[in-house]
């Protein structure tokens, strides 16, 4: 399968009064057509900022993409005019958000919101757009879609709203879907349904997905490849079974250990000590070393580069 998206050395900084926050600092990854990339990490590690950078939706002051290249099907998105970028948003790249409760506009019916994107990008009549909206709602598994298109978001449950969001994002057959924690706000049974739906639609529409989450369970279920992010950088990158079988970076190991297992008894869950460093004042050297159980003196001196542990499995750690 061919390459769809390449992100190369992406740097997105936020320039604030207190200093410069390097939210994303030299991130590179690629996504093939039809593949799922999982982007994992704690809150504040730069997952969402990476996704918003791909959409070019970083709030301009204070944020700015200072360097890098984002190539979609051979086009560098960072060089496009704003109008050309609008053509791509919602059409070639779509995004779904974490909060289904607030990501639908409360004053419009579900149908209106889906139709808006369709009319904008596909230049069809209102009637055709309505038909397509109903079809999309049926596709995402909403019962009685002819009625639901006329309903307002507050009349739907959280899971239903997330389905509407997905219908909206997929209404123009995008080749890439950015899913920013799409299941975090939902309860576990609904989570499973939504993930299954996404996987099903991905196969059906042959689209690539970047799944942003802090839930390794979700990653294990849906991702083909995984990028683990920490403090604005990718610390480990590889096939999903490599990462889960032989995690190279101490951070990944810590994340995996903190998942409770069915087969063992524990009083307390394993945790990674400390907190995510403040983006305004990252530690010198490897950014993980203050929390790292295997850190040595050398870790404080220079930030390690990504190096191949095995073919297609990269780690940013000198101890791995």
């Amino acid at each position: 399968m061919g390459q769809l998206l390449e992100v190369f050395d992406l740097k997105t900084y936020f320039f604030m009064d207190e200093g410069t926050a390097k939210a994303v600092d030299g991130v590179s990854f690629e996504v093939d057509k039809g593949e799922t990339l999982g982007l994992v990490g704690e809150s504040g590690c730069g997952k969402s900022v990476s996704a918003l950078s791909i959409m070019r939706l970083i709030p301009h002051p204070p944020g700015k993409i200072v360097d890098g290249r984002i190539t979609l099907d051979g086009k560098n998105l960072l060089e496009l005019e704003e109008e050309e970028m609008r053509e791509i948003r919602g059409n070639e790249i779509s995004m779904i958000f974490q909060e289904p409760m607030t990501s639908l506009n409360p004053v419009f019916t579900c149908g209106n919101q889906i139709e808006e994107a369709i009319i904008l990008h596909q230049k069809v009549s209102k009637k055709e757009a309505r038909e397509r909206a109903i079809e999309m709602l049926r596709l995402v598994g909403i019962p009685a879609p002819e009625q639901r298109v006329r309903e307002y978001p507050h009349q739907l449950s959280g899971g239903m709203r997330q389905r509407v969001m997905i219908a909206m994002a997929l209404s123009c057959n995008p080749s890439l879907l950015l899913a920013d924690e799409p299941t975090t706000a939902l309860d576990v049974t609904i989570q499973a349904q939504i993930l299954e739906l996404l996987a099903h639609l991905q196969r059906e529409l042959h689209m690539a997905v970047i799944m942003i989450t802090h839930d390794l369970g979700v990653i294990a279920e849906v991702a083909d490849r995984v990028a683990v992010m920490y403090a604005g950088k990718i610390v480990e990158y590889g096939e999903v079974h490599d990462i889960f079988k032989k995690p190279g970076h101490p951070y990944t190991q810590g994340l995996l250990q903190s998942i409770p297992k069915l087969t063992e008894f524990r009083d307390r869950l394993a945790v990674i000590p400390g907190i995510v460093p403040n983006p305004l004042a990252f530690p010198r050297g490897c950014k993980f070393h203050p929390r790292c159980p295997v850190a040595v003196d050398m870790c404080q001196e220079a930030e390690p580069e990504l190096r191949a542990l095995a073919s297609g499995h990269w780690v940013r750690c000198i101890r791995a």
């Binding site: 939706l57 995004m95 506009n105 004053v107 419009f108 994107a117 009349q155």
Partner: protein, 454 residues
Amino acid sequence: MFVMNRKAEESKGKRARAVWASLFFPGTGLMALGERRLGLWLLIPYASFLVFTIYHWSSVTAAFTTGDLERLVAALFLSFVLAGFWFYSLVKTLRWDKDEGTGMSHWQITKSQFRKNKPAVAGMLVVLSLYAVAFLGPFLAPFHPNAQEDIVRSRYLPPLAELFTPVVTLKDGRRIWVRQVREVGEEISYVPISEPSSGDGGPLVPEAITVTRDQVQKIAKTLRPRWWNQKVHWLGTDKFGRDILSRIIYGSRISLSIGFVAVGIAITFGTFVGAIAGYYGGRVDDVIMRLVDMILAFPRLFLVLTLIALFTPKIWLIIAVLGATGWMGTARLVRGQILSLKEQEFVQAAHALGLSIPRIIFRHILPNAMAPIIVTATLRVGTTILVAAALSFLGLGVQPPTASWGNIINQGRDNLLGAWWIATFPGLAIVLTVVAYNLFGDGLRDALDPRLRD
């Protein structure tokens, strides 16, 4: 199955009958279908407007041909209102059993909330009736607002006063209320009382008409006019002998339209400016909001007086100036709303769908801020009417002899103790309007704000 069919048939027949009923008398069809309340709300105003139309039938039909703009507008208003009620009731009856989706939309919730608030409903009804009175002025006013019947006898008449008026009955059947009759030999000359609203161009003091004695059937020297002849000064007269009630009715057109249009301008402009400032933020916001602060630093009446004093006071100028000095509050309000709304996820979702920025501001963010905007608009109409009245009172508003509530009060000021009725009744009209608008606005706020819902 059979039973179901029969039921369906029955309801079909019922609806057909209801549609016929609605066709002939709006509201009745809905009442027959069990929507008694809605039916009554349609039937009662329709019936009152219909009675009004029939009572004034000759003047209404004449209005379409005489070319008098005021009367034409009034007659058109009547026709539109009647047609509107008829059409609405018919549509409602036809769509009676149509399923409008499950649950209630925002609008429906708001409506049902608003209905529970009785003072607010009363306020709305008063506001609507005030506008109806303003539109129907030429048919309602018993006198022309500028007509001076017989200045010597009709000035400073207290409320409910009637002027005993001679009537000349001609042989061709016309009966003419006259000011005075003079009989010289075979000739009889009389000065007719100017008819109500004979148009702006008509003479205020009509010329005497001379006829020969054989044209006259009867002269009743002092006839006490009956009330349905509408020659009673219900609210008295002013120092020029002009009827206060008629002047208030005509003045309402000025005062109400100034309030409505000026607020419309102010709200539109304020919303636009506030939306731009709130959305773009940064330097744009700084410049706009400092400008707003600067204008707000002046007392409004002072600003308005200065602006109007620079030009000759004309009604459009007053509207423009009141609009131009009333937008700052709305701009602030809208800016605040937009600041919080633009961080909402649905705005980001709209960006992610590739919508343009103006579309996001005006179609996605602003409708969410509509509730407070509507509320301030209604509350502001009251204060704007007050400012307009204050302007007229200070002599910089609408210029005499055109009546406005403010300048009637101003004229009453000269003789407040001797003729209290001149300033009192327009004052009451202002109070009524402002209170009604405030009740209406409060009710709207309660109905539109989800936090205040019970």
